[in-house]
Amino acid sequence: MSHLIRGIKFRTSSFYVIIASIALLVAVEVLTTNPFVVGVFTLIAVYGVLALSWDVLSGLTGYLNFGLAFPFGVGGYLAALASTRVGLGPAESILLAGAGAIGFGFIAGATSLRLRGHFFIMVTLLIPLATADFLNYALVQDGSIFGVNSLVNDTAYVYNAAVAILAASAVLFYMVAYSRLGLIFRSIRENEVAAEALGINTAKYKMLAFSLSNFFAGMIGAVYVFSNGVASPTDFGLLFSALPVFMCALGGMGTIVGPIIGTILLEGSIDFLRINYIQDARLLIASLLLLLVLLFFPKGIWGYIKRGES
């Protein structure tokens, strides 16, 4: 394995931006106790991890996963089950959620990762929607909605957990993306047949990228459930699949820095516009911002900044 993580450079503008973003999130906690601000930055951290998880699979390998809500929701439900039925502590529940999301991801990925292009988009898009429909049905049958009260008032714990997972995923994914492993992932994106001809076991590496993505999406799903105090079918909703994609597109796909920038801009603009008159127009403003960036900077913000480099 060691040859795979050779060649990583840490003195790059990308890595400095990642460190600065993590520092910003830590600084928020030190500087303010305002529950609104902390709440918004918790959401930024949650979506940041989702966007990063999307980028490490889809940005690098080109397999566009439109169903990130599946590991997110699976993680959330597993953590809810573990903490209410088994009585595990929050940290153990979060780790278990990540592992469980990998496990469910194996089932989803073993079949769907053979598909390409629109077919992969379609299957990944449908899986969380079908799961949500089933859980809605189960909800009516036996009221299987989980109240998880252990951490709902402990915003500091939730925030720390979200920021820790964000920092871990950002640094790990940076190392993945800018090492030989990242080159292998990109070779799958550029030409999968050629990569196989060069002796790369693409099925193995696709599953590795998929599992990395699912692990962190599952853990942050658990954190989200703990912060909400409830696990419900809406955790599998379309927005948890779609928003991370847009955050990556906004910031720049396949760059690892892009998703962080995109999340801060998009989630920040959605939440900090909760001011008197523009309150009701904030989602419209955020979606217009997204459309304009996609129209005029198709490679995203980081892609535009780095347009001189290859």
Binding site: L64, T111, S112, L115, R116, H118, F119, M122, V123, L125, L126, I127, L129, A130, D133, F134, N136, Y137, V140, L238, A242, V245, F246, A249, N276, Y277, Q279, D280, A281, L283, L284, A286, S287, L288, L290, L291, L294, L295, P298
Partner: protein, 294 residues
């Protein structure tokens, strides 16, 4: 027993025709423009709100409201294709741009429907009254007249689109573009014009299916997403670009849905359709009538 089989067949057909209409629109647009249009579902949603505005608020007649709504959505689709979707330089970029545009439409409607800027017009959820009252008995199964009219209009629209594509010069141009973009432009067909005409046709097809169903569903700015998912799934299952496959897939899905609604459990209808779609995609990704996946 016989009655339940008959009601299954009649209601399945009634639903199937509407499915055919909106998925053929999506399929046509995909075939000609070569990109998946993420704003298709949003157009479906915009029509419902246009009808709500013309019919319920402005109290125009049923026919006038329907025609005005279709004209409105055609204009939106035209502008969206000309100034937004065409700017995507790759299919992926175009998909993202149209999805973002769909969000813009959704949140614009949400803002106009109910916000602090227009507190007096706040009506949520929107409700469109039935245009055509009464019901007809078909083979002993009672069907709302509005559904019967919806099916008749759908068939008329489908046949006219088919005639347009197969008999007229413009239609042949559109088919040429869908077969080979480059070759079509070499023989003097303007692909941009063909795509614009197709987006008008697709908008009218989505609009027609939507306008008659508006009275039977809760109109909500997010309804477009389930329509987009369904149209996408039907088109993929039928085989991308295969018009016959799209028809077959529409009816299969409509019959399965009707079966579950009537005989199993209405709450499971969405889940079973989606689960079946996933299974078909995994077993036979090229669809029922599609060629091998490249």
């Amino acid at each position: 027993m016989l009655t339940s089989i008959l009601s299954f067949l009649v209601l399945g057909t009634v639903l199937g025709v509407v499915y055919v209409l909106f998925s053929e629109g999506f399929s046509l647009l995909y075939g000609v423009a070569g990109v998946l249009n993420g704003a298709y579902g949003a157009l479906y949603m915009v029509v419902d709100y246009a009808v709500f505005l013309f019919f319920f608020y402005l109290k125009l007649g049923a026919v006038a409201s329907i025609l005005l709504s279709l004209a409105f959505v055609a204009a939106v689709a035209f502008l969206a294709q000309k100034y937004v979707a065409s700017r995507g330089r790759s299919p992926l970029e175009a998909l993202f741009i149209t999805l973002a545009f769909a969000f813009v439409l959704q949140y614009s409607v949400q803002f106009l429907q109910c916000s602090s800027a227009f507190p007096e017009s706040c009506q949520y959820p929107a409700f469109v009254p039935v245009f055509i009252t009464g019901s007809t008995s078909i083979l002993g199964v009672s069907v709302f007249n509005q559904y019967v009219i919806a099916d008749l209009v759908s068939v008329v629209v489908l046949v006219s689109v088919w005639l347009l594509l197969s008999r007229t010069r413009t239609g042949k141009g559109i088919r040429a573009v869908s077969q080979d973009h480059m070759a079509a432009s070499l023989v003097g067909i303007n692909p941009e014009r063909a795509i614009l005409i197709t987006s008008l046709l697709a908008a009218v097809m989505a609009g027609t299916s939507s306008v008659f169903l508006a009275s039977y569903q809760t109109v909500d700015p997010t309804i477009g997403w389930s329509v987009l998912t369904l149209a996408f799934a039907i088109v993929v299952i039928g085989g991308l670009g295969s018009l016959v496959g799209t028809v077959v897939a529409s009816f299969i899905l409509a019959f399965i849905r009707t079966y579950i609604l009537l005989f199993v459990n209405p709450l499971l209808a969405d889940f079973v359709s989606l689960a079946l779609l996933i299974v078909v995609l995994l077993i036979r990704p090229q669809g029922i009538f599609g060629r091998e996946v490249s």
